[in-house]
């Protein structure tokens, strides 16, 4: 009798444990799903609430910690974000996502060496990690070391060719070495992925301009202004191009034609001191 009751109690207990575990798993997954959905919809506080709730049920859930890290960073709570990503690394040192974000947060704190080390750690864990290669390439770009930048950005590109920024930074590194075909190719790829990439268009303009293709360059910069009429770089680039042409014509004694370019310069940069001065002088 005792044994039968004992068995029944054991079975009931096991049932309760398994049912509870199943319900717990469902709850955690529901919370993660809802948190992810809120996050995507920009409901940052609600998403934080869901992931915090998920962590109360499953304190070592790496996904929830990582998501909280990003959400805290979005709220500029960088120390909290750092804590969340560090926690993930403690739970599982192979979580490359958390390592990457720690690297990014080091860069935010201007800690170049630690950021660089973190990205190299990611590569050691995952030799195919496009993001880690991208950040190291970007760091070399920022240090104006185009040879190393190209080496790493090419690895980033080969691991994931769908990132416009990888192509863009690769384009600037090639351009820094006067490798114009490669630069133009990478800028083309940038534009194919993100047609509104104004920085790529601005840089392409300079390559064309330096090749003597002034009209094509001007078209590029005009296109930038169609995308963003307030783009300061495009305004300066166009003003510089119009100014160069005006000065050249002025030097050749073609004042009337020069005046047209000063006018154009003024139209892209109202108040441009050079244009105002020469228009006043020659009109």
């Amino acid at each position: 009798m005792r044994t039968l009751w004992g068995r029944l109690i054991l079975v009931a207990t096991m049932f309760a444990v398994f049912a509870g575990a199943a319900a717990w798993a469902a709850d955690v997954n529901d919370l993660l799903f809802e948190g992810a959905d809120h996050h995507y919809r920009g409901l940052v506080d609600q998403a934080i609430g869901k992931f915090q709730e998920a962590l109360r049920l499953d304190p070592e859930n790496e996904y929830a910690h990582n998501q909280l890290g990003i959400l805290y960073a979005k709220k500029e709570r960088y120390d909290d974000a750092f804590r969340e990503f560090s926690k993930v690394v403690e739970i599982d040192g192979r979580n490359t996502f958390a390592h990457l974000w720690l690297g990014i947060l080091y860069l935010r704190k201007n800690d170049l060496d630690r950021g660089f080390t973190k990205f190299n750690e990611v590569i050691a864990l995952d030799p195919g990690n496009a993001d880690a290669y991208y950040f190291i390439g970007a760091i070399y770009n920022i240090r104006h070391n185009p040879v190393k930048a190209i080496e790493y950005l090419k690895k980033a590109r080969d691991a994931d060719s769908e990132e416009a920024e990888t192509h863009y930074r690769l384009g600037t590194a090639f351009s820094n070495l006067d490798m114009v075909h490669n630069a133009l190719l990478e800028y083309d790829r940038t534009m194919a992925l993100k047609p509104s990439h104004t920085k790529a268009m601005n840089d392409m303009g300079w390559i064309l301009y330096n090749q003597g293709k002034v009209d094509e360059a001007v078209d590029k910069w005009k296109k930038v202004l169609e995308t963003n009429p307030k783009d300061r770089d495009a305004q300066s680039n166009l003003a510089k191009a119009y100014g160069d042409m005006a000065l050249k014509l002025q030097g050749e004694g073609k004042t009337k034609k020069a005046v047209q370019y000063w006018k154009q310069m003024l139209s892209v940069q109202p108040g441009n001191k050079a244009a105002v001065y020469y228009l006043k002088k020659y009109q």
Partner: protein, 370 residues
């Protein structure tokens, strides 16, 4: 796809698939939707390999079905084929960015290393062929160390003022614009002769260039360092010496703020970046990191130049100062502004008229770069 639609489709799938179990020939025709339902049923039964086979047919038949791609992702995940699963979920997301489930799956599965899928070879475009040839020709002979040291291979030298903007004028009539052009040209020649660094000038004659166009030149040539040459002036004729400025958010002292105000003239600064609530951009973090690195590097260059001036030039060193100069701020590289002497000081002015002295100044700057 939101969760409700997802659950609805699951329910619908379960209903239809139970009917399908009874009348398989009736339901499993060739439509992508039917194949999707069949795949779903197979996933529920744990028959992932068969599900993959069926769902591949479904996505081939309807490549715009995020639902079918999502199911394919689930089937691959069931088989433990993480890379293929992520690829299918990503495809679902490309078609429907609202697909929370696929996004969640991608985010979860890519937290840790996943194997890579083999790449599909595509025919190369003429530009790709040219680029490949260029790479073989150029990149092969270039090498660089794994060093994070800042590298300078291209310098833009800016002769301050010009044309109708004479800058400050000395007692004997010496104009700042003429001295800066002389100095810039000498430095440019010196750099070109050195051969290690390429040099570019913002202006080569007596004409005015707006400040924004000067940094445009630096960006035009992807310069690694921007040097703007100026000559100082002060109402106090006794003020003398050399100083170097670099760009920083705040002026290092009142005098630095005054000089920046004078050099900036009529300019308006860029609008500050307005932080968007609940948004984080990696590129923005990189941009600010880049800017701070350049400012830090500018400070190092400024210190280096000023040290050279101390030993090379018969000027009192007024030190290194920082201020928010427009001409420096817009540059996408370290940028410094040199004030080599006071044109308002008769003694400095007479030195600045001498070609030999200008060569000394240019040499000193050159040694600061080299």
């Amino acid at each position: 796809m939101d969760r409700r639609t997802f659950l609805h489709l699951l329910g619908k799938g379960a209903l239809v698939s139970s009917v399908a179990g009874i009348f398989p020939d009736l339901l499993f025709g060739q439509s992508a939707f039917d194949l999707g339902l069949q795949g779903q049923e197979l996933i529920q039964n744990g028959e992932y390999a068969k599900a993959v086979e069926v769902l591949q047919k479904a996505v081939a038949m309807d490549p715009s079905s995020d639902w079918a791609y999502g199911l394919l992702g689930r089937a691959y995940r069931g088989l433990g084929k993480t890379a293929e699963a992520v690829d299918a979920f990503r495809q679902a997301l490309r078609i429907n960015p609202e697909d929370t489930y696929s996004r969640w799956m991608v985010e979860m599965m890519t937290q840790k290393p996943i194997p890579k899928l083999p790449k599909k070879e595509k025919p190369r475009s003429p530009l790709e062929i040219q680029a490949e040839e260029e790479e073989k020709r150029v990149l092969g002979r270039l090498a660089s160390k794994e060093s994070l040291e800042y590298q300078v291979k291209r310098v833009v030298v800016d002769a301050g003022h010009g044309g109708f903007d004479s800058g400050a004028v000395g007692l004997s009539g010496l104009k700042e614009k003429d001295v800066t052009l002389e100095l810039a040209t000498r430095l440019h020649r010196r750099l070109e002769a050195g051969g290690r660094v390429k040099s570019f000038l913002t202006r080569t004659g007596d004409y005015y260039i707006p400040l924004s166009d000067r940094t445009a030149v630096a960006n035009q040539y992807q310069a690694d360092l921007f040097i703007s040459i100026h000559i100082n002036a002060n109402e106090n004729r006794k003020a003398n010496g050399s100083e170097t400025y670099y760009c920083a958010e705040k002026a290092s002292n009142q005098e630095a703020a005054r000089v920046a105000e004078f050099e900036n003239s009529v300019l308006k600064f860029d609008e500050e970046f307005k932080k968007e609530e609940g948004f984080i951009s990696i590129e923005e973090i990189l941009f600010h990191f880049e800017q701070r690195m350049y400012w830090k590097e500018s400070g190092s260059f400024a210190g280096r130049f000023q040290e050279k001036f101390k030993t090379d030039l018969p000027f009192r060193s007024r030190g290194v100062n920082s201020a928010n100069f427009f001409v420096l701020r817009r540059a996408k590289m370290p940028a410094i502004l040199l004030e080599t002497g006071f044109i308002s000081n008769p003694e400095d002015e007479s030195k600045l008229k001498t070609p030999a002295f200008l060569d000394r100044v240019a040499d000193s700057v050159f040694r600061g770069i080299a």
